[in-house]
Each structure stands twice: as C-alpha cells, then as structure tokens.
Symmetry: C2
Subunit: 153 residues, 2 copies
DNA sequence: TTACCAATGTAATAACATAACAAACATAAA
DNA sequence: TTTATGTTTGTTATGTTATTACATTGGTAA
C-alpha cells in the first residue's frame, strides 16, 4: 500500500498533466479520454481494459474499441503504461519526465510503483551496447512484495 | 540474425538438456512435450501458442489445452520462457544455468537473444532493496534492432 | 457552406488462455 | 497379475484480451 493520502489529488494531478500535454501538442483531451484516464487512476493498482469498459457508464457507448482507442491515445502520449505481464494498464506517475522507467508490482496489494532512471537504465544501455543491440523499447516489470505488505505479514 | 550455424544442433542440445533435466527430477519428458519443445526451437525467434497448435500434426490431438499444458511444463522446468510483450514463447538457451535473465528482441528479424547475469541483475536488486521491495519474478524484455539487422540496412 | 480530418459508434471476429471433466496410461503396492 | 493411484492427455466449452472494418458524428478551416 502507498501511505495513506488524499488519492483524489493523484487523479487531479494526472488530469491536469494530461490537459497540459494535450494542449502543448495540439491534441484533444476529450471527455472519453479524460474519463478513461480517471478510471485508470481510480487506484494505484493496474486496471484491465474490460474493467474500464464496465465502468464507462451510459455516458459512453462502451464497446471494446472505445476503450482500447482511448488507452492507445493515452499510452502514445505517455499518460498511461501497459503492464504486459498482467495485460493491464497503469497511470504514468510522471508524464513527460518519463524515460527508461520500470515497474514494481506487488502481488499482495496489487499496487504498482513506477521507477525511473537510476543505475538500472545505465546497466541496460551498457549491456545492449556490448551486444551491438539498439534498444527501442524496454519492458521491465518486477513482481514481488512491497514494503508495506511485508510489514503487514 | 544469428551467425549461420547448423541449427539442428540447437534443437538437439535443447532436447538433450531436457532429457537430462527431466531424468534428474523424475519427470516424464513425453512425446508431446518433446515435440512442443522441438517446435519452439524450430527457429531462434519466439513462437505463438496457436502456431504450435497448428504444427502439432495428427500425431497429437491438438487443442489449446494440449499446447498450453506442454508449455507450462516446459516453463516450470526452465526449458522455455514466455515473452510477455509478445504473447509468445522461446526456448531457454541455457537451462539450469538460468538466473536473472532477460531478452533482446529484434523487431526486424524477430530473433530473441537471452542474456544473463551481468550488472543489470545487480542494479535491479539494489534498486528493489532500496525500495524495500522483495522481488519474486522479473520480466525484462528489450525490443530493438540487433547488430546483424543494423549492418544489413 | 463545404470539405476535411479526427474521434467515436457499432458489429463482428480474431487472438490468447483456462476450467472442468473424461479417458488413457505408467508405476508401484498388494 | 491385478488393483490402486496419480499423472498425462483428450475433449468440450467458455473466458479473456484485442483488432478489423466500416458507419457516423463532430470540430475546424478554406
């Protein structure tokens, strides 16, 4: 668990960042996209596409493409990440500053923490370089137990 | 591409290793399991479960559970890895020696190279430790362009 | 207004994976 | 050898995740 906090702030911040980013890029942060982003941020865990679908109330005609298109837009603009090992999605904790990030996934409480930079990225670059490999995209997802959940057990 | 080589040797080696491992562990390396492992090793790319399904000829009754069970067995015994970002499977290049490994996936030629150890694993452990996170399983998959494909372009 | 492109609606289907139960088969104890 | 047991495979059905293709709507600028 994350420390107790006014989670509404997280959502607000995410929406604000999204507004700013779309503005800068001349993109439309539509009702649908905003709504999906809010749902993704409803908690600090990851969210499944079909759960989003169920929670897009009657305001939207919720068919799979509706959700996947919104997720695609949000991913392209760094507002959401896909967690491949879970087939699920999380809100990006620091859009724009985002580079070489990876995820700590607690399988007890299901929260996902996003980490950036550090020695890991460097070690990865070194390793790839030694192999003559040019990386485009890295998927780094670590499943385990977070600090809070260890303390609790 | 990997350098040209007698790929049949890779398959042979994989089967031999599998035989040895199953033997040591008192497990049954059945025809089905052997056949699936051979198909996984048919090339150095990753293979999709439903492609395996199509290629399990009439010798086996090929329904999805058939394939997924074989893959599960092979994964449990370190003979095959799943590539989450592709929903696909690759043969393990060094069963048993396998620890903290990760994958370089070339999106030009589709080959997958498995890497182990090195500073990366260490950096990951450090990072997790600093966060008080206890890792159980790491998914590390790097998509990019391999050396051979850069040279070719 | 028209023309255009982006966004969304809608239906169908593709791709990936598992549940639940039955049958076949190996192995070892009786 | 027979029986009992657990493992492996067969089979049907279904659950889950994601995309294709085409129609419609809506914003924006010529």
């Amino acid at each position: 668990m994350l420390g107790s906090h006014e989670h509404a702030h997280c959502i607000e911040d995410a929406i604000e960042a999204a507004n700013r980013i779309c503005d800068e890029r001349g993109l439309r942060f539509t009702d649908l996209r905003r709504h999906v982003l809010e749902l993704v941020w409803a908690n600090h865990g990851s969210v499944k596409a079909y759960d989003l679908l169920e929670n897009l109330d009657s305001e939207f005609s919720a068919k799979p493409p509706t959700v996947y298109r919104a997720l695609e837009f949000l991913q392209e603009n760094g507002l959401v990440h896909k967690i491949s090992s879970l087939n699920a999605y999380v809100g990006c904790e620091h859009p724009l500053k985002h580079r070489d990030c990876f995820f700590l996934i607690c399988s007890e409480c299901n929260e996902v923490a996003e980490c950036c930079g550090s020695n890991v990225a460097e070690a990865l670059r070194d390793m790839a370089t030694r192999q003559g490999f040019v990386p485009h995209h890295t998927t780094l997802e670590i499943e385990g137990t977070c600090q809070a959940c260890q303390a609790a057990s």
